[in-house]
């Protein structure tokens, strides 16, 4: 009987510990997402918004909008961000033929933050784009 009570107490304690742990972890990933979005926002304003505009809508037929069509292949968008685009592309049925400059100075973490911001804002994603994802994508980019 006594042992049973100790067991119960112990399992309660364990259960509550687990709950706290799960909550903390969830909180942790949500906070990390927010951090990435905040950092990504700042980087986006510096490196992307001049052409794609702060609202991501692009500018007429000069620069494409960051629509779901533009964002459909994240690995490709990661390559574009780092290496630029040097051939015409079609977005939402409109063709764009102005080169996009490369951003060779952007680090993998910065690209991950930009992707997280962009995909949170215009792709409705709630998970971060990890540095590992960026690294893997960059390794497979087509040669410049």
């Amino acid at each position: 009987m006594k042992n049973n009570r100790i067991d119960m107490k112990l399992s309660l304690l364990l259960a509550s510990f687990l709950v706290v742990l799960i909550l903390a972890c969830q909180g942790g990933s949500a906070i990390k997402h927010e951090q990435y979005v905040a950092e990504g926002f700042t980087l986006f304003q510096t490196h992307c918004a001049n052409c794609h505009q702060r609202d991501g809508k692009g500018l007429e037929n000069l620069y494409p909008a960051l629509s779901t069509d533009y964002l459909k292949d994240k690995n490709q968008v990661i390559c574009w961000t780092k290496n630029g685009v040097h051939q015409p592309m079609t977005v939402n049925g409109k063709s764009y033929n102005r080169a996009m400059p490369a951003n060779p100075g952007l680090k993998e973490l910065e690209i991950a933050e930009i992707m997280t911001y962009v995909y949170a804002t215009w792709g409705k994603e709630t998970e971060i784009t990890t540095v590992e994802t960026v690294k893997a994508a960059l390794e497979k980019c087509p040669p410049k």
């Binding site: 001049n50 052409c51 505009q53 500018l59 007429e60 037929n61 000069l62 620069y63 102005r98 080169a99 400059p101």
Partner: protein, 214 residues
């Protein structure tokens, strides 16, 4: 004494409100003495934009005469600019849309990268920006002449700088020029407040000319 102060205060208020209806005339000014009806009078000579010769997006030569009797907005950019130009062009597009078809208002955008920005490149840029006709002129020409007119006449910075992204440095200003080719305002072309102030000032300037006619 008290009355005098009140009168002076009222007078200064009146004079302020009077002057705020007209836009200031910017740039260096000179005075010249001349004889009118046997009397010597002092006249003010304002800074004006001298004649120029550039080529627009249609391949036509453009000079100051093309802007006779027009209020116009001048700026400097280049088509491959990754920094402030796209922002400026988005803002200038609002000015264009606002005064589209108004014969009295024109826009003059100078490229500071004439090697790349040929009339054909400028034409395609204009088309992609949604601009047709020549109310908004995109001009190219002699590099030195473009930099010179920017710095000395429109009072803005324009030039090559290998350390700047894209290779050129230039001001984000929109310059408002009146029908006498005098500079009447400078506006931050990279933000909404500057653009709205420019649109309001173009309206004010049009009203000045309308009032003068009556």
């Amino acid at each position: 004494m008290n009355k005098l102060i009140i009168v002076l205060a009222l007078f200064s208020l009146w004079s302020c409100s009077g002057s705020s209806e007209r836009l200031p005339i910017l740039g260096e000014r000179d005075t010249v003495k001349k004889m009118v009806d046997g009397k010597e009078i002092v006249d003010t000579v304002y800074h004006t934009i001298p004649d120029f010769k550039f080529v627009n997006q249609e391949g036509d030569t453009v000079s100051a005469q093309n802007f006779n009797d027009k209020i116009y907005v001048a700026d400097f950019f280049f088509t491959t600019c990754p920094t402030i130009c796209p922002v400026m062009k988005k803002q200038m597009k609002k000015v264009y849309e606002k005064f589209k078809g108004e014969n009295e208002v024109a826009i003059l955008s100078h490229t500071i990268d004439p090697d790349h920005d040929t009339p054909a490149v400028l034409k395609e840029y204009a088309k992609d920006l949604g601009v047709s006709g020549t109310q908004w002129m995109f001009v190219t020409g002699n590099r030195e002449k473009i930099y010179e007119i920017g710095e000395k006449q429109y009072l803005v910075v324009a030039g090559a700088d290998s350390t700047a992204p894209g290779g050129y440095i230039h001001s984000g200003a929109f310059v408002l020029v009146d029908k006498q080719k005098r500079v009447r305002g400078m506006y931050n072309g990279t933000d909404e407040a500057g653009t709205q102030r420019l649109i309001a000032d173009i309206e004010r300037l049009r009203k000045e000319y309308k009032d003068e006619k009556q």
